[in-house]
Each structure stands twice: as C-alpha cells, then as structure tokens.
C-alpha cells in the first residue's frame, strides 16, 4: 500500500510562502471563473475587462488607490491584534464608531476651525472612539479571558445600530429628502485629495501607520513583548511581561486604527456619514491581514489585491449587473484557497510505501 503522509517543514521560507500564496490566488481566480460562468458571464471576457478597464485605465487606478485606503487601515488593525493571537473581528464596528466621532467633530466644530486643526482632531477623536469601543472586549479578555472573537463580532451589530439611530434620528440632514445621511462636512473637515484625482490623503495616513506599526514591532521593547506574548504566553509569563496590560493596550490600539479607517472614509470619500458607507471594510481587513500573514509590509500588497477584487466587483455590477454578493463570494474563495494552501507551506508531502 502507498500512503501519503505530511511531514512538517523545519523552515518554511518566505519565498515558498509567496509562491504558494500566488498559486492559491490563481486557483481562486480559476474557481471564481466557474461561478461567473454559472451566472452566465464569460469569465474570459470578464477578466479581460478587468485588465482593460482597471489596470490599463487612468480612472481604474484612481479607484484602486481610493479603495485600498480602508483596507490598509483595517488590515493593519487586525494584523496588530493577530500578532498576539487575538482575533479582532470587530474592526467593522470600530470603523463605524470612528466615523461617528469624526462626523461629530466635523458637524459641530467644522465651520469654526481651519483644516490644519480639524483633520488632526478628527483623527484623534476617531482613534479615541474606536479604541474605547475595543476597550470593552479588550478588558473582558485581559481580565476574565472572555473570548474576543465573540465579543468583538457582536459589538459590530451594536455599532452599526448606533449609526442607524443617529442617521434616522438626531443627525439626519433636514434637506436630504428623508435619506438617512448627515449634512455634508464643511470644507475644513474634508480630507484633501491629490491634484485633480479623488485619491485623498488617507492613503498617506494608511501607509505611514503601517510603517509605524512595523517599526514598533521590530525595533522597540514593547513590540518585542507583543511578539513573545503572541508566540508563547508561558515564555512571556516566565519573562515577567505584563500580559494583561499589553493585551488591553494592543486591542485598544487595534480599535483606534480601525477607527481611523472610518474617519478617512467619511472625510475622504463621502464627506458625510451615511448608511452602508462601509462595504464590510472591517471584515475585509481580516482577509487582508490573513493573506499577509499579519506582516505589516505585506499588508500593503494584500490590501491592494483586495482593492482589485472590490473595484472589479463594481465593474461587474455595471457591465453584467452582477450583485455585490459576487465580491463576497470571491473573497470567500480566495480565503479558502489561501488557507488551504497553508498546508503546503508548513508541510511537505511524502509518499510512503508500507508492506502490509
């Protein structure tokens, strides 16, 4: 008899990982093609269109670079927590709450202050609000060991309901014909864009934050502690690290970063708070972080890749009137195939012959 057995690799090199991930994405595109075919779209035509209208197109690139911004921020938020093996499924809710705080600042102080003061204050409030929202699961985790996956996930629904309440109630723009949107932000509360494009400053903010997180993780004592706690909590205990405090701090910082994503969306794209301004950006952050194996620099690339998926989805909506669900379907397929491919980065396949 012949058996296939898996043998753990001693070293899984980054090159193997990247190659395996790329193959996995290729497989995902292939499987996605079948689904496109199933809904009556010629996959070759669809993929051709993506290349033609997005990658070969000025406006396409502009869309990509706008779309990447929330993914950079939610991706790094999730990845930072994941460095400590904490699952922040709540980036979506923290993003919503960040947007609420930024909106409050914009609507209340916007006309009085200059843009140089407004934008930093909005960011600050968004961070504060996102981190306070994350404090709840962070505290419960650090103090009582409550599973953060459940708490962060459930708080998302609460956060979204809050936004709905504000939009249907006190914050609704009287001139909006009853649409659940706020008034437009005053100009001093709008993130400036580059030149004539729609690419706003959020792109720089996202990239700077990613580099900062990378620097802290690699170059500082506290970053080292985070990595040890994530790898082996017993070794952290033996080394005398304050695990509770670091856990709480990391979860709150993760929430703050997701909060900034909310701010850049409302202040950089919509210029107001409105329903469904986030198309699952928080959840997509989980995929971005996963694909990047929580490596901050890799997040720049995976966030770009997810931006491609989203913008392509919008193109499909326009061209073939496919629903947004197609994007989620693609996300799912990609996640499945990349997670499935992990077995090849961690294990070698060995063929064994056994004489019975």
């Amino acid at each position: 008899m012949i058996y296939f057995t898996l043998e753990k690799r001693l070293h899984s090199s980054p090159v193997t990982r990247i190659i395996v991930s790329l193959i996995a994405i290729g497989v995902a595109i292939l499987i996605g093609g079948f689904f496109l075919f199933a809904v009556g779209v010629n996959p070759l035509q669809a993929y051709g269109l993506v290349i033609d209208q997005i990658f070969m197109d000025y406006w396409g690139w502009q869309d990509l670079l706008v779309k990447i911004i929330p993914f950079l921020l939610t991706g790094i938020a999730v990845a930072l927590a994941a460095q400590m093996r904490l699952w922040n499924i709540g980036a979506e809710g923290q993003l919503y709450l960040g947007a609420v705080a930024a909106t409050w600042v914009a609507l209340n102080w916007g006309s009085a202050l200059s843009i140089w003061v407004m934008i930093p204050i909005m960011i600050l409030f968004a961070m504060l609000s996102g981190s306070l929202w994350a404090f709840i699961p962070g505290f419960l985790k650090a103090q009582f060991g409550v599973n953060e996956i459940i708490t962060t996930l459930l708080l998302n629904y609460v956060a979204i309901s809050w936004v709905d309440y504000l939009l249907y109630g006190p914050w609704r723009d009287p001139g909006s014909n009853n649409f659940p949107v706020t008034r437009e932000f005053p100009e001093s509360a709008q993130l400036p864009a580059f030149g004539n494009t729609s690419i706003h400053v959020g792109l720089v903010i996202g990239l700077v934050i990613i580099l900062l997180v990378y620097f802290i993780l690699e170059k500082t004592e506290v970053g080292f502690k985070v990595k040890v706690i994530g790898d082996n909590i017993y070794a952290a205990q033996y080394s005398g690290f304050n695990i509770k405090w670091i856990t709480l701090a990391v979860v709150m910082i993760s929430g703050a970063l997701a909060g900034i994503a909310g701010m850049t969306e409302v202040a950089g794209v919509h210029y107001r708070l409105k329903q469904n301004f986030s198309i699952n950006y928080g959840y997509t952050g989980i995929i971005v972080a996963w694909l990047a194996r929580n490596h901050p620099i890799a997040i720049i690339f995976t966030a770009f890749f997810l931006a491609v998926v989203f913008v392509s989805g919008e193109l499909m909506q326009l061209e073939f009137s496919l629903p947004i669900a197609m994007v989620y379907l693609f996300q799912g397929i990609i996640l499945f195939s990349v997670l499935g491919s992990e077995i090849f980065t961690e294990y070698k396949i060995k063929v064994k012959k056994v004489v019975a």
């Binding site: 001693l10 070293h11 620097f215 690699e218 170059k219 500082t220 004592e221 970053g223 080292f224 502690k225 990595k227 040890v228 790898d231 082996n232 017993y234 070794a235 952290a236 205990q237 033996y238 080394s239 005398g240």
Partner: protein
C-alpha cells in the same frame, strides 16, 4: 520460535524500538505480561515508559519489533485497533468531557443502536461498576465527581470496551491516600476477574505491595525485570537511578567549606497550584553563596511551584522569603531579574523559549533591557544577531544560523541557549530545574560544567532534580521534597543514594 499451544503471555513485546527526532525513546524493549498479573514499569521521567505504553495502545507504531496479543502478532496503526484486541489505557490525565454524564462519556465512540436507550445503558454501566467495585452514579455529570470517581469512570470506560489488558499510567499520582486504597482494591477485583494489568508508578511502597513483577526502564532500555519476592525497594531504587552506570565526564569541583553569606532563605512557605489546591506546605530552604543546593524529588511534588515562587512567577500564600537579607513581600518576575536571579525552567520548551522567534530574539527574553541589543534607542537587529553569534560560539549552541527559529533546535541546544541567556547577566542566584533532563552526554557535561564553574565563582545555585546521579555529582547540600513538604536535608557527605531514593518516594524520613 514456536509458540506453545496454551498461551503463557497475554501480551508480549519483542525488541520494540521507537525513535523520535534526536532521541531513541525505546531501544529494543522486551516485555511480557502474564494472565492475571500486575506487572509494574518503573523508571525516571524520560525513561521511555510513556512511549512504550503508547506503542502498546496503538498511538505510535514502532519502527522495529513485534507485539503479540494473546499469542497473535498484531500491527496497530491506531488506538481503536488495540481496543479491539482487548487493550485499554487509563491515562494519567483524564480524557473526559466535563459537562457530560458518566454514561455519555463511557459510551462515546462505542457502537450503539440507532435509538439510544439510556435507561438500559445506565443499568449496564451500573452493573459493570458493581462487578468491580467501581461505584459511581452513571447519571452524574463528570464535573460533579471527585478526582477518584473520575478515575473510576476512566477505568469503566476501558472495561466497557471489553479490555482484558489494562494499562494504568501513574493512577495514584492524583489521588488522596484514601482514594489510592480504594483503587488498590479495585485493582485486586480486576485481577480476580481475569484481567491483567500494566502498572506505572513512582511510588515504591505501592509498587512493592501490588506488583507481581517489576521491569525497570532507563534511557529507553530495559535495565532488568524482577520478580517482586526476589528484590527490594533499595535494589530497585539503585537500578532506576542508574547508580551502577559508569560515570563519565565527572567534573566535580572542590566543595567550598567556608561559611558563606546566606543568599536565599525561605521559611514556612505555602503556595497553591493553578487550580487553587495547596501544593507547598511550610517549606524551609536556605542557599548560600558559592553553594549548590540540590533539591531532590519525584516530579510533581511541589518543586516546580517552589521554583515559580522563588522566581516571582507564582505568589506565595504565606511564609517569608528573604533574599540577600531583604524580606520580599510579593516579588514580581522583573524584580527578581533585577535582583540577579536566573531561572532555567523545568519545561524548557514551554517556558524557556519563544519557539517561532529567532534565536537572536530569544536572547532578549528576561534580558530585554540589556543596552547591548539597542542602537541609540531602538532594537538593532545587527547587534542582536552579533550578540547571539558570540553566545552561540561561547556556549557551543549548534544551529545553522542565529536567524532560525529557536523552536527547531534540539533539546540540548535549547537548554544551552537558556543557560547562555540566564548566566550572561550579573547573576547572584540561579535556579536550575531539571537542567539535564533528556539531554545527551555532551550537552549534560557542558551544562554541568558551566554551573559548577559559576558556583566556584561565588554563585548560589538551587538545583532541582530527580536524577540522583546529578544530585550527588553537583550538590553541596541536599534537600528532599515529597508531597509539597521538605522531608529532610543533609550535607552531601552524610547522604546516601538509597536513603534519598526512599525519601523521594515517601517511604523514609530523615
């Protein structure tokens, strides 16, 4: 060889060999079990007992050798097959689902009719229990049961599956003396009912009262099989501790007789384990500068918790802890590191390293304030790597590069890494817990040499070990711990190996 028509052995192992990367856990082990016999396996931790039992239970297929069950050759590739052949293992750590009932736990994984008739099964289990004296209410949930009762459920589980050969892995380690007595009765009952038992234990008293035969394992090999009547506890202790082996690489340093400053003094320390049960009761200990105090004891008798208390990981419930003349109230790990305490933990892979970080990074554990790792203010990877390279050279740590994950290193190299890290600070007191367990001759000699050298330079050392060779080789003064209490202490010259062995197993008190 022709097997006789009537089977003398219910289980026979011939030349079982099982290797793991870097270690031969079982080396041509022969073993037999007769019908209705209690055959004890004795040996230090790491002697290969658990591996052997797992081979019998079908968890590990052996690389070489044969297993015969009731005279028939068998090849187990999974535990289910060994159960089918009538072999049942009662694990030391219970494998029960806490919020399910006794019955649900017992029938889990057994073939049942589609419609489960719980009343019938409950009755079946109740009757089975009565037959062996394993009284336990089948309808109770596991979490409502005492530890002794949970163990009965584990035994019922294997009996329900029709086990004829039972493996009991240190069954009394978790039991109170009363519960142990009850278990001995149950074991007698099982023997009466034609079962055969492989018994694993460290406790010499029960080994000598229960067993028919005793096999001593050491470093994966059978050191001897004895009929109970023809041996005694002293002889077995001597063989188990490997006293008869020739000592290579003996590097004992001169004993310092001058009265030195007391570095560490604890009086009447009590502490609890993670579940809140008391594991240390009124422990006294004194360690002086330039002295190695050996703490002997079978694993799990409180020495791990004592080390944790001294190093600041575990809070003490009561007692006084005096360190360099200063009374400590509730020291933290960082406090103790700052006071020059080094700690080589017993479970070196679990506590000593962060396995998926690089070797370089692992040198920062417990030493992350060391300016040698920093540039102006921030960690400098080049400096970290350079430091690691120097230490790797100095401590003979063999690895392809300082950048590889520490978790892939062999046990010996991990231990050298930990030792290198702990001894590179300005140390005043070193706790070394089972520092050579599972290591090869060279790593052992190296680590012992480093510790002896540091001692001769004035370091105070607490050496926690259950290896009596190591104890006598290294220590100046010996303490013995059993069941969370210090059962005696004496200068090395006044100690003898049999006496210590008996004290460790709770037979004798000095």
């Amino acid at each position: 060889m022709q097997t006789p028509p009537h089977q003398p052995f219910v289980l026979e192992l011939r030349g079982i060999t099982k290797a793991f990367p870097g270690i031969i856990a079982n080396d041509h082990v022969d073993f037999t079990l007769k019908q209705g016999e209690i055959h004890t396996i004795l040996g230090e931790n790491g002697a290969g007992k658990s591996t052997l039992m797992n081979v019998i239970a079908g968890l590990y297929p052996p690389e070489q050798g044969e297993i015969l069950v009731f005279g028939k050759k068998v090849h187990f590739t999974n535990p289910r097959q060994s159960i089918k052949h009538g072999i049942g293992m009662v694990h030391q750590h219970f494998m029960l689902i806490r919020n399910h009932t006794v019955t649900e736990n017992i029938i889990l994984g057994t073939p049942q009719r589609f419609k489960l008739d719980f009343r019938r099964v409950n009755e079946e289990i109740r009757r089975l229990g009565e037959k062996y004296g394993l009284t336990v209410d089948p309808q109770k949930k596991i979490q409502e049961l005492s530890v002794g009762e949970q163990q009965r459920v584990e035994i019922l589980k294997v009996l329900y599956r029709g086990a004829k050969i039972l493996i009991l892995d240190e069954p009394t380690a978790v039991l109170t003396p009363q519960e142990s007595e009850a278990l001995y009765q149950i074991i007698e009952n099982m023997i009466q009912k034609d079962h055969s038992i492989i018994f694993i234990s460290h406790k010499m008293k029960e080994v000598m009262s229960l067993s028919d035969r005793i096999t001593v394992l050491g470093r994966g090999k059978v050191l001897g099989t004895f009929v109970k009547e023809k041996t005694d506890a002293q002889e077995l202790a001597k063989i188990m501790m490997g006293n008869e082996e020739i000592k290579e690489l003996l590097v004992s340093s001169p004993i310092v007789h001058r009265t030195q400053e007391v570095v560490l003094q604890v009086e009447k320390i009590c502490a609890n384990d993670d579940r809140g049960y008391q594991v240390l009761s009124e422990v006294d200990l004194e360690v002086r500068a330039g002295q190695i105090v050996g703490l002997a004891g079978v694993s799990g008798n409180g020495q791990a918790q004592l080390a944790e208390v001294l190093s600041g990981i575990r809070p003490m419930v009561s007692g006084t802890y005096t360190y360099w003349g200063e009374k400590l109230k509730a020291p933290t790990v960082s406090d103790m590191i700052a006071r020059g305490l080094g700690y080589i933990p017993e479970d070196r892979k679990r506590y000593g390293i962060a396995g998926s970080l690089s070797i370089s990074h692992n040198f920062l554990l417990r030493d992350h304030k060391n300016p040698q790792f920093y540039g102006q203010q921030f960690l400098n990877i080049n400096k970290m790597n350079q430091y690691a390279r120097i230490k790797m050279q100095e401590f003979d740590i063999r690895a392809a590069s300082e950048k590889i994950q520490a978790g892939v290193l062999s046990g010996g190299n991990i231990q050298k890494t930990i030792l290198a890290r702990e001894s590179s600070r300005a140390l005043k007191f070193l706790i070394a817990s089972q520092p050579i367990r599972g290591l090869d001759v060279h790593a052992t000699a190296f680590i012992q040499k480093v510790i002896l050298q540091a001692k001769s330079e004035g370091l105070a050392v607490l050496l926690i070990t259950e290896d009596l060779d190591e104890l006598f080789l290294m220590s100046d003064h010996i303490y013995v711990i059993c069941d969370g209490k210090m059962v005696g202490h004496m200068p090395k010259e006044e100690a003898n190996i049999e006496q210590i062995g008996l004290m460790m197993t709770g037979v004798a008190v000095s």
